[in-house]
């Protein structure tokens, strides 16, 4: 059975990745998960310097999901390079670094700093809904999205994934813009903007009033968008949004994803990635699928020959 997939020239041993911000840098998962079994660990967003993040409350549960407003709390790139890269390098997995910034210069600074580091992929976060500057401000405007992609691509030494926001009218417009800007791959979807109100206190639950909705509740939206983007650009697609099982992973790949990322499920079960991999293998065995790449985008073929 072949599980290896290639994303922008980087070969992953299997299509299971982690969604940034749900796996830290892997340390908290080591007691429960064999990090060697993950295709690529995509770490929590890193900025050029330490970010404090938003005041609490930052998390609230919703039906079949959760809303977070962490605000990209991170210790900054220097601490990350010193502590997290050596930690992850002990394992046989690829390292993807999610880059955060408030300005184009800040994104560029992080990519430049990583140019000499032993990491495999960069993921440009232009879709975080929880920071006022940067983040989603770049991700909802095709011109700005292309601009920041191009600027980072110029200094990057690793293939560049751009993470797309679903909080747009037409996600394919942004996907095409970052393709034109030089992206090597796209990942989607980031969280959907949502909110919850405490009806007893008559106020918003999250300190920021709104945050990013994730979890199985958003999966159908993600499947639709992955399908649209996979058919709109000539780039590898990393699909994510509410993946809880191997069957969910298969669904994303059939929609057109070349690899998938597990997000919220990690927080509910720190062994989620391993279980999803095992379930994916079981599915392939039962359906006699030799190569996982054979299921990528199969819905298109089905549509042509009814």
């Amino acid at each position: 059975m072949k599980l290896t997939v290639t994303i922008a020239g980087v070969e992953l041993k299997n299509p299971i990745m982690t969604a940034s911000g749900t796996f830290g840098s892997g340390r908290d998962f080591e007691p429960y998960t064999d990090l060697n079994k993950i295709g690529c660990v995509v770490v929590k967003g890193v900025a050029s310097r330490e970010w404090a993040g938003n005041p609490p409350p930052r998390i609230v549960e919703t039906y079949g999901g959760m809303i977070n407003a962490i605000g990209l709390q991170n210790p900054g790139i220097d601490v990350f390079c010193k502590e997290d890269i050596p930690f992850l390098r002990q394992f046989d997995t690829k390292i993807g670094v999610n880059i955060s910034g408030k300005t184009i210069d800040e994104y560029v600074e992080v990519a430049e700093r990583l140019a000499s580091e032993d990491v495999d992929l960069l993921e440009l976060n232009i879709s975080c809904p929880n920071v006022k500057e940067g983040g989603v401000a770049f991700g909802v405007d095709p011109f700005m999205a292309a601009l920041v992609t191009g600027a980072v691509k110029k200094v990057a030494r690793q293939p560049l994934i751009v993470k797309l926001s679903p909080n747009v009218t037409d996600i394919t417009t942004i996907a095409k813009a970052v393709e034109d800007g030089g992206a090597d791959a796209v990942s989607l979807i980031n969280t959907l903007i949502g909110s919850r109100i405490d009806i007893h206190k008559q106020k918003f639950i999250l300190s920021t009033r709104q945050g990013g909705l994730s979890g199985p509740a958003i999966k159908p939206v993600a499947i639709r968008m992955v399908y649209e983007v996979a058919n709109a650009v000539n780039l590898p697609v990393i699909g994510m949004g509410g993946i809880m099982s191997g069957e969910d992973a298969v669904e994303f790949m059939m929609a057109g994803a070349n690899a998938i990322a597990v997000g919220t499920a990690n927080l509910l079960d720190p062994a989620a990635t391993m279980n999803i991999l095992a379930e994916l293998e079981t599915f392939m065995r039962n359906k006699q699928i030799e190569d996982v790449n054979d299921i990528v985008g199969v819905v298109n073929k089905a549509a042509i020959s009814p």
């Binding site: 830290g24 908290d28 609490p56 409350p57 998390i59 549960e61 809880m244 099982s245 720190p270």
Partner: protein, 259 residues
């Protein structure tokens, strides 16, 4: 996600699940492996059966029964998840994970302790009192109906306060300790305003104090960075957010910056 259960979550049998007072339940779970690891002040993630309720409910450990391998947890019905728990019957099973958090520092050499609990912040004081060696003065505050009083009495002098005066001192625990001028190394768990009052009291009287904080949590094991609290730090601003689930829930009172 059946396999996952073996690796991270533990399926355990419910020994009993009964109300102590209105809206407050004690659930006893059989989980010998977890019981062996628990330290006072740590918490356990309880998972709902309802598939729409994804996040764990973190509940502090009230007591461990090492001999029987039983875990005693006390929860108040505060929402749909805890309401679901209250319907669980003895003999059924539930999924849990833990223990998580740092727990209380038991190395204090003082030998004279002031143990303070407020509402559902009282349960963790039972196992703490059991394991702390020395003289213990215990103050527990409740809105109206006190619980756990008899269990706490095994370990020291117990004073009760209630908001409405239905039992013990009428008023808040901080008012009580101020009136009595109680002293000792403080261990406290309860709502933030109470802990803030205790922090001020400890500072005024030069007492060492440990505060167990509460915050809305996501995962419970440090990954999501959802449950943070502001602490004094060597940064440009003079503070940084620490994780309540992993760096806490117990913090030195001197480092906590209440909003």
């Amino acid at each position: 996600m059946n396999q996952s259960i073996n690796r991270s979550r533990t399926v355990c049998k419910i020994i009993s699940n009964r109300p102590l007072v209105d809206q407050v339940f004690e659930i006893i779970l059989a989980c010998p492996e977890i019981v062996k690891k628990v330290r006072p002040g740590q918490f356990i993630n309880l998972y709902c059966r309802h598939s729409g309720r994804l996040l764990p409910r973190p509940i502090s450990v009230c007591e461990v029964d090492l001999r029987n391998g039983h875990l005693h947890l006390i929860y108040a019905i505060l929402g749909k998840g805890t309401e679901e728990f209250s319907g669980y019957k003895a003999g059924e099973t539930m999924e849990i994970m833990g223990p998580f958090g740092n727990g209380f520092n038991l190395d204090s050499s003082d030998g004279n302790y002031l143990i303070i609990g407020g509402g559902v912040g009282t349960p963790p004081m039972v196992e703490l009192c059991k394991q702390l060696k020395g003289k213990k003065t215990i103050v527990a505050g409740f809105r109206d109906n006190p619980y756990l009083v008899d269990r706490l009495k095994q370990y020291g002098d117990v004073y009760i306060t209630t908001d409405n005066g239905s039992a013990g001192f009428k008023g808040h625990v901080v008012e009580f300790i101020e009136q009595r001028g109680l002293k000792g190394t403080i261990y406290a768990c309860g709502p933030a305003p109470m802990l803030q009052g205790i922090q001020a009291y400890a500072k005024k009287h030069g007492l060492q104090a440990y505060l167990s904080l509460e915050e809305r949590m996501g995962c419970g094991f440090g990954a999501c960075v959802g449950c943070v609290t502001k602490v004094v730090a060597d940064t440009d601003t003079g503070w940084r957010y620490k994780k309540v689930c992993k760096d806490g829930p117990v913090f030195d009172a001197g480092e906590v910056l209440f909003p």
